[in-house]
């Protein structure tokens, strides 16, 4: 390991927490994966202990890993079979509520990602907590440690349905009053479920099922092939390996 601030932080973290955290340093960003059961103890130590002193919570957000790495367009064997315009797969935005993809119970589907900042040491740290149960994703709430995460956790609850255990006020925050579902989940249609309009006869705003067709113009493509290699070769800049 070269001696950068991120690596020294990573070393201190692994010295203090041992196997509890699995730590990686990529592009000078330190990411630590924490089991949900240890989160509160780890977070308290990160805030209070002098080598870390992460007193400023930057961000908490949810992620839904359903469909990670899936594409809609085969790019590897096309030259053998000829190009097809047919888009396969059901990536975001191509389905309505009735045809939404049903995930087979996927372990480690939901995660909460916490970004912390230490002003004393000028360090950043990313914590990732996977939820064990994807039908009722649950993570302990950090509101007792940093009051500022309150709304961020409400947002992750609202958009992803991650329940923050111990949160004092876990209401929806960004979506409409009476909204059903968790809109940022990958199996929630991009077009939504309801649309609103003003009904001149009833003289009020009415909710109706959406009438628009789901449509996406550009298929989701992952190219591990020549394209990327060529781009690296053509580029005058340094393409760092990931």
């Amino acid at each position: 390991m070269t001696d950068t601030p991120s690596n020294s932080l990573a070393e201190r973290l692994s010295a203090r927490f041992g196997d509890t955290l699995s730590i990686s340093v990529v592009r000078n960003e330190v990411t630590a994966e924490v089991p949900a059961a240890d989160l509160l103890a780890v977070a308290t130590a990160l805030r209070d202990e002098a080598p870390f002193s992460f007193r400023l919570p930057i961000d908490v957000c949810g992620i839904d890993y359903m469909g990670y790495g899936q594409t809609e367009w085969d790019t590897e064997t096309v030259s053998g079979t000829g190009f097809s315009r047919g888009v396969e797969g059901e990536a975001m935005g191509r389905f309505n509520w009735a045809d939404r993809p049903r995930a087979d119970s996927q372990p480690r589907r939901f995660a909460a990602v916490i970004h912390l900042l230490s002003l004393e040491h000028n360090h950043r740290l990313r914590l990732r907590v996977f939820c064990e149960d994807d039908t009722l994703p649950m993570v302990p709430s950090l509101t007792g440690i940093w009051p500022g995460v309150n709304w961020f956790e409400r947002e992750a609850f609202d958009l992803y349905g991650i329940v923050f255990d111990g949160h004092p006020d876990l209401r929806r925050i960004l979506t409409d009053y009476g909204f059903v579902g968790h809109p940022f989940r990958k199996d929630f249609p991009l077009i939504g479920n309801v649309e609103v309009r003003y009904d001149p006869e009833q003289k009020r705003v009415v909710y109706e099922p959406v009438s628009i067709e789901p449509r996406v113009l550009v298929p989701r493509v992952i190219r591990d092939d020549a394209d990327l290699v060529q781009a690296k070769a053509e580029s005058a800049d340094k393409w760092r390996e990931n």
Binding site: E29, R55, E155, L190, R223, A231
Partner: protein, 417 residues
Amino acid sequence: MQEIRNYTMNFGPQHPAAHGVLRLVLEMDGETVVRADPHIGLLHRGTEKLAESKPFNQSIGYMDRLDYVSMMCNEHAYVRAIENLMGIEVPERAQYIRTMFDEITRILNHLMWIGSNALDLGAMAVFLYAFREREELMDVYEAVSGARMHATYYRPGGVYRDLPAQMSQYRESPWHKGKDLKRLNSWREGSMLDFLDAFTADFPKRVDEYEELLTNNRIWKQRTVGIGVISPEKAQAWGMTGVMLRGSGIEWDLRKKQPYAKYAEVDFDIPVGVGGDCYDRYLVRVEEMRQSNRIIAQCVKWLRANPGPVIVQNFKVAPPHREDMKQDMEALIHHFKLFTEGYGVPAGETYAAVEAPKGEFGCYLVSDGANKPFRVHLRAPGFAHLSSMDVTVSGHMLADVVAMIGTYDLVFGEVDR
């Protein structure tokens, strides 16, 4: 004796001092606020989810519409996140252009803030003065990108175009003619950099004018001194950044502490408050305008002396030159691929933050290698600030809630996303 109970009051969502669509449910004991419960999300557009359904470049325009008074700073966070993952080094000239436009944006934002905040607290005139300068900087936005607000000017790998050699001028019209027209165009004879030179030379005097109206104004001080005091500890615990943190006496600015673009090369100071009240934050913002002006002047000087490319010559992320497309098959293919499919970003995750005028604006980007982001999360400073509303205004008078909304510098485009 009659029993007096607390009552609940609805502030907004269409209150002129709510700065957009804030609905604040206030529990009042007479004139005193007991509890404040902000209801947000009335402007929620699902920007993050929309970005997940589009190729990377097509979401830059959405970033402008988040914090719609500091447009280019939002773009900066987003394109920096993409550049981090792709490992692109941005040409030096583009970095200076970005530094300059970040600071122009900061002045734009603070002018909007000083005008509307003063208006909320009863000082009408500042708004008119502030919008005079805002108009000039809007023209700079327009000159460089074609749009006054939603510029979509920053691109992964640089900026879309080089600075224009000719600043746009006013044409004769029933509203602008004769001596008036000549005065308006007197700065606009030369290039955009000439215009900015004239602007930066003139702007400190303009800031003096705003200060003349407010800094020692008795009513202004009555409304802001000692109102909404935030201790340094509280500011940190509530995730506050930017002026909210500096106003409480913590010298923290990403431009100095984690420099990006060309902030390490330019000379500027970080103003810090003492008391952590609304008045200190006002003073910090006014000083920031002066410092931004200094940075702009330095960037103009550098940009004048150093021509060069403003975007990487890697046609997988940046379009080839228009003229090449007419002759060169490769260029045409590159252009077509870039604007239809886009480019794949190597799998990984990154968090890129910029010191936006309101605080730390961050973009957490997760890519699985596809041409669309897997997850984009935008960390909006206003969201974190507003969450502390309850603890800061409890015990204050109703009128101070308005001062507090003003000092948070809220824009609901970014709070609701």
